[in-house]
């Protein structure tokens, strides 16, 4: 345990602490600006991971039609899993792509908590431990104690305002990274919906427990990710109005839309089991582009719907939700061989 602590201290805590002190000294003695600068530097350094996360989200979106095909086609969980993994390999998709940036940030988060606690010296005892961690450079050793005030924030104590900002930022980030899932049943869809809300609440709650310097780091990180996603996906693919709905904020990509158009799905997650059963040959996941008949059926249905009201599939969230219920029940029925 002591060895782990030593490694953690040497690799993370000490370098971050000294870097923050240097940044604070360079940025007019402001520890808040130092945290912002540190966050941006850290995010640029880990930008390949951010990029991977964005690509993964995009890839996930584009794979949806084919994943849905697999979901509907293969009733045997083992086979379904195999086919999904095969598809992942085929398109070079790594499910960890989304989780990795979060996992990488976890130790930084923990280290930063320790750094802020010690470098801001919330108690005499915590400041006491700081001297042993400073690199032997006058610029650093003479800097403490650092100014713990930034704007109206006391960086050493929790801030309610920042907690709210963190929660909102995390929510937007979640919305951006959530694709329409291959929800097979209500339970899965419910899990997805819950995930969108739980993370913001969780991080908002944490922000109320930890120094606001840490919340500032998290908030800037979130902003960075949102901006990166905005630039990566292009402004035309952002649907800000969906922020307050249960629909994903990212518009389906061109590929996904094309696949949806040609693959028999009304939207990226909308299928009926009956259609799939008819569309696919047994044992072979149907390529959406090759599904002429279901595609025609789908277009006809869409035209009928347009006549009734909506014009674009992704603007009919509520209608689709109702439709999902129907399709799920039929899907559920088709899962059960005895029901067929």
């Amino acid at each position: 345990m002591e060895t782990i602590e030593l490694i953690f201290d040497t690799i993370l805590i000490d370098p971050i602490m000294n870097a923050l002190i240097i940044l604070a000294s360079a940025l007019f003695g402001s520890y808040g600006l130092a945290i912002i600068a540190f966050t941006l530097i850290a995010r640029f350094v880990t930008y390949p991971l951010v990029l991977r996360q964005l690509r993964t989200t995009r890839a996930m979106q584009e794979m949806q039609p084919r994943l849905q095909e697999i979901q509907k086609k293969y009733k045997d969980p083992r086979r379904r899993q195999q086919e999904m993994m095969k598809l992942y390999r085929e398109v070079g998709f790594n499910p960890l792509g989304c989780a990795l940036p979060l996992l990488v940030q976890l130790p930084i988060w923990i280290a930063l908590y320790q750094v802020i606690r010690q470098s801001l010296g919330t108690t005499p005892e915590s400041l006491f431990g700081l001297s042993g961690r400073l690199y032997d450079w006058t610029y650093i050793t003479e800097a403490p104690p650092l100014d713990r005030n930034f704007l109206t924030l006391d960086l050493a104590n929790p801030s309610f305002i920042l907690a709210i900002l963190v929660a909102v930022g995390t929510f937007v980030q979640q919305k951006l990274s959530t694709t329409r899932s291959v929800a097979k049943d209500d339970r899965q869809a419910s899990v997805n919906r819950t995930m969108i809300w739980i993370l913001p609440i969780m991080f908002g709650f944490f922000s109320l427990q930890v120094p606001s310097g840490l919340s500032l780091y998290w908030f800037v990180t979130t902003l960075f990710t949102i901006v990166a996603a905005y630039i990566y996906n292009g402004p035309e693919n952002f649907r800000w109005r969906q922020l307050f709905t249960m629909e994903p904020m990212l518009a389906p990509s061109t590929a996904a839309r094309a696949a949806a158009d040609g693959g028999g799905s009304r939207s990226s997650n909308e299928h009926t089991a009956s259609e799939d059963e008819k569309a696919a040959e047994p044992g072979e996941p149907a390529k959406p582009q090759a599904q002429e008949a279901p595609a025609r059926r789908s277009r006809r249905r869409r035209r009928r719907r347009r006549r009734r009201g909506g014009n674009r599939p992704w603007e009919q969230g509520e209608n689709r939700a109702a439709g999902d219920g129907n399709s799920r029940s039929s899907s559920g029925a088709s899962d059960d061989p005895s029901a067929q």
């Binding site: 499910p95 988060w109 010296g121 001297s131 042993g132 050793t141 899965q188």
Partner: protein, 412 residues
Amino acid sequence: MSSGPSRPWFHVKRRHRLLVLPLLAGTLALACQSFDTADGWASPQVFEVGERELIIHATGEDSIVAIDPGTGESVWEFPDPDSDGRFPGLLPDIDEKVDADSFYAEPLLLAGEELAVATHKRGRVYALRLDGTSARLLIETGSEIVSELNLDAAGVLYVTTATAGVFAIDPALPLDPEKPLSAGEQPGLLWQYNAFDGTIWGSPALADTETHGQILLVPTLGGTLYALRTDPAGGTARVAWTFEADAGIGGDAVVADGRLFIGSFDRHLYAIDVESGAELWRHRSSDWFWTEVLVTDGTVYAGDLNGYVWALDAATGAPRWDAPYAGGDDFRAKPGLTADGAMLIVVDRDGFTHAIDRESGSGVWVQPRETQLPDLFYANPLVLGSEIFVANEAGELFRVSEDAVELFYPPD
């Protein structure tokens, strides 16, 4: 082993996915659990009460206890643990509990066999009868108190807080037991001064000067040392002079022979002329000085946070030893002196007691490694005759000698 379908190692069953979040939350909560407990580092003191001596010690239960040095038994405790946080005879009769709180400031003897004790978090100062029969609330500052209290010859008590500045109070002001204090009322307050450039954790010292009269020397973590004229002309204190260090000043000010000695985070120990604020000399170490120096026989003894103890000529700053004593971890505690004056007793943060030859700076004995005491040590050692007492931040008091260590309080 398993004949089931091959699944990637990161696969989580759908119904278990929601468990991932609480697990993540738990990990973060565990990692970010607050270690920021201000345990206090008030040093044990000994006072005479009538015919007997009492060790006054800040416990780990956030209370002050009077201990019989012969038996180690508690004579009284404040707040009284058996009275639901109340203290018999507390004046004024405030309708609330005496908050348990940690103590950084050492108890200070007032006139009339009373002790002034300052609580850390709420910044309250009480006057306790040394026999433990009654207590008075002198002031509630509303700011944390880390610095020591100061009492001048006229009986004025100076309470230095972390962020609310210095309060000068008259501790002798009688309180009417029938008349509760109204909110914010500070009956003994003479003046308050709060125009400092940073938090105050170091301890002030009083000095008499020809030019400015009595001054209170207040160090700040902003790196400025303020000399305040305590004569309350104009209703408050006035700045006589200031001294700027290159970094924060967390050490305790000590005045001897017209010189002020204080350590700074800029790794220097300074000697400053109390009349003018001019720097007399400075001594550089390899780490912060965050301690209270011991000045005796024209020599300044100080430990630093790199584990060195220095002996310097008080007039010139020239080293008295061939090399500093190097044998321990960080030294925050002020060195103690044995009864015969031959040895310095220092305690490092790791809990090892060192006896150093005062003349040569060589180690006489060091507490054996196998008897290392638990927790961290910031409080000054108490040298009482031939016995040495050291206290850790958990409030345990140990009796230490060259070859033995025993827990003295609380009793096993």
